[in-house]
């Protein structure tokens, strides 16, 4: 028990003293997760809307595919991205292996089905009377789409938060595609894994605290937005 308490104290010291290895991992994490979230929301939101709003041939099969992608293991995504961006892979010429961009690509693939599936479910559950109401108030097609999205804004925020949680805490992609290079591609989760293996619990706990803090800030912002 003592080592856990000591770990907490050391963790706070590391954060306050501005320990460079700890802070570079924090910044790397924020950078890749923000980048992957922007990409996955940018692509997942319209895809989820199309999937949830319109009826088309093959919709059920596509929905099953997206739902299956939700359970995709991070190590498998890591492996696939590695295969594509390694020097022998089809995207090898872009030198993305062991870069933050490479990790962001992998994390986007991880978050995309989450954003798409939850957005689609949210849109599917829209009250049937909403569209009729909007049409009879003179709304055009574009007004209907924007108003529908605004009506389900909390559901979409939930999709984004769920995806962010998954991206923030994944290890497999960051480790395989990023390579856990200190001061370069080391993220909070890969750093925790490494430090714990080395027996440096304090560093691990410090980074763990930061993860919890980020999750807390995200949820706090969301509940503030809801109240607004």
């Amino acid at each position: 028990m003592d080592f856990i308490v000591a770990g907490f104290i050391k963790a706070i010291e590391l954060l306050i003293s501005g320990d460079s290895s700890t802070w570079t991992a924090i910044f790397a994490t924020l950078k890749v997760s923000t980048c992957s979230m922007v990409l996955s929301i940018g692509a997942g939101l319209p895809c989820g809307f199309l999937l949830g709003y319109f009826d088309f041939r093959g919709k059920k099969a596509l929905r099953t595919f997206v739902d299956t992608m939700l359970a995709l293991p991070t190590v498998f995504i890591g492996l696939a991205v590695y295969a594509f961006i390694s020097h022998q892979g089809p995207l090898g010429e872009f030198n993305l292996l062991f870069t933050l961009t490479g990790i962001a690509i992998g994390q986007t693939i991880l978050a995309l089905p989450i954003v798409t599936a939850i957005t689609a479910s949210t849109i599917e559950n829209i009250d049937h009377d909403l569209k009729l109401t909007l049409v009879t108030l003179g709304a055009g097609k574009r007004n209907i789409i924007t108003t529908c999205l605004w009506e389900v804004r909390y559901g979409i925020l939930a999709a984004a938060v769920t995806a962010y949680g998954r991206v923030l805490t994944e290890v497999g992609i960051s480790m395989m595609v990023g390579g856990n290079i200190k001061y370069h591609t080391r993220t909070i989760t890969t750093a925790i894994a490494l430090e714990t293996n080395k027996g440096l619990f304090a560093n691990g706990i410090a980074l763990g605290l930061v993860l919890i803090f980020i999750a807390f800030i995200v949820n706090l912002s969301l509940s503030f937005l809801r109240k607004q």
């Binding site: 009250d127 009377d129 909403l130 009729l132 109401t133 049409v135 009879t136 108030l137 003179g138 709304a139 055009g140 097609k141 007004n143 108003t147 605004w150 009506e151």
Partner: protein, 342 residues
């Protein structure tokens, strides 16, 4: 009616949900600035017809002309001009002010917005100061319906379609909604089409009543539909047995028909039974309601025969002579040959 006088002209309309035909209308004309009442049981197609009139849906077959022009959902000729209020309207997840101003904002007509929202709320008996910042979930059912009505009236629509607007609201809200809809017709010349089970209200305000049954229209107003099951008695007569033992005699059904209709003008009322005849139906019943029809000066009388209702129009003299009143036991009479199959 000339084309200029018409708000709507529906031609050869057939509408399906999947493989089920829900509307079958050869022709329907609705005059501008008129009040048309749609009467019929649940599932008769009233709501579907209103959605087509609102251009919220396109009919499977046929065409709808609005002011002489063929219009479609989202076309500029009808947007913001025709609006529909349903029984349970959807309020946007915003403040009451935003809900009412929505229609004006999307058409970028925001001059004096606050004043117009205030007037719209006042029109349905709601206080602006008290309601403008309330959220959509902070209203009672009646208040929500009035807000929805205000959101439509602020658009100053050419046509206001009301689908059971007062069916699930309190008495005060119902009164205010009825008043607001009539104001729209008086002040703006709005054409009203109202579907409701409140026959007293409909008969007192409407210029014309159209009854509906299984997607078909009867432009003579409410009519008496005799529904299945029927039994074949002999080659010339079919019968419908009522649960109290009485029977209705009908002619053999025409091909591809399944229900019968006896028009109200063919139904008579008496107090004494006539001599039995193979072609005469005589049914014992009780007067359930009597409504004054403002336009004709006649009394729309409903007679309940066990669990089936029949309507007929009576003139006030007949009522005086027979001393008719709700609750009085009477005999309904109609000839088998006056029954039509639909």
């Amino acid at each position: 009616m000339t084309i200029r006088e018409l708000a709507y002209h529906l031609k050869d309309i057939c509408h399906y949900y999947g493989n089920t035909k829900v509307l079958d209308i050869d022709e329907l004309k609705i005059k501008k600035r008129s009040i048309t009442a749609l009467i019929g049981p649940n599932g008769s197609g009233k709501s579907t017809l209103l959605k087509l009139l609102a251009f919220a849906q396109k009919p499977t077959q046929g065409q709808i002309l609005y002011k002489g022009r063929k219009e479609y959902p989202f076309s500029s000729g009808i947007r913001s001009k025709i609006t529909l209020l349903t029984q349970k309207p959807y309020l946007l997840k915003r403040t009451i002010f935003e809900n009412i101003a929505y229609g004006l904002k999307i058409r970028k007509d925001t001059d004096n917005l606050e004043k117009r929202v205030k007037e719209a709320l006042l029109n349905v008996g709601l206080d602006y100061e008290k309601f403008e910042n309330r959220k959509w979930h902070e209203l009672s059912g009646g208040e929500a319906q009035r807000v929805a009505m205000a959101a439509r009236l602020i658009l100053k629509p050419e046509v206001l379609l009301l689908d059971e607007p007062v069916a699930s609201v309190d008495t005060k809200s119902a009164k205010l909604i009825r008043r607001a809809s009539l104001n729209a017709r008086q002040e703006l010349g709005t054409t009203l089409v109202i579907a409701s089970h409140d026959l007293q209200w409909l008969y007192s305000i409407s210029d014309r009543q159209i009854s509906m049954f299984k997607g078909q229209l009867f432009s003579t107003g409410i009519e008496n539909i005799i529904t299945q099951p029927f039994e074949k008695q002999n080659s010339k007569t079919h019968i419908k047995r009522l649960d109290d033992g009485q029977i209705i005699k009908l002619p053999p059904p025409a091909p591809k028909t399944c229900n019968a209709i006896i028009r109200k003008k063919k139904v008579f009322i008496g107090l004494e039974q006539q001599e039995e005849s193979a072609s005469l139906n005589q049914l014992y019943g009780q007067i359930a309601s009597m409504l004054f029809e403002k336009k004709t000066g006649l009394i729309m009388t409903t007679v309940t025969v066990h669990d089936t209702s029949f309507v007929l129009r009576l003139n006030p003299d007949e009522i005086t002579n027979l001393e008719l009143h709700p609750g009085k036991k009477v005999i309904l009479k109609f000839d088998i040959h006056d029954i039509e199959w639909i």
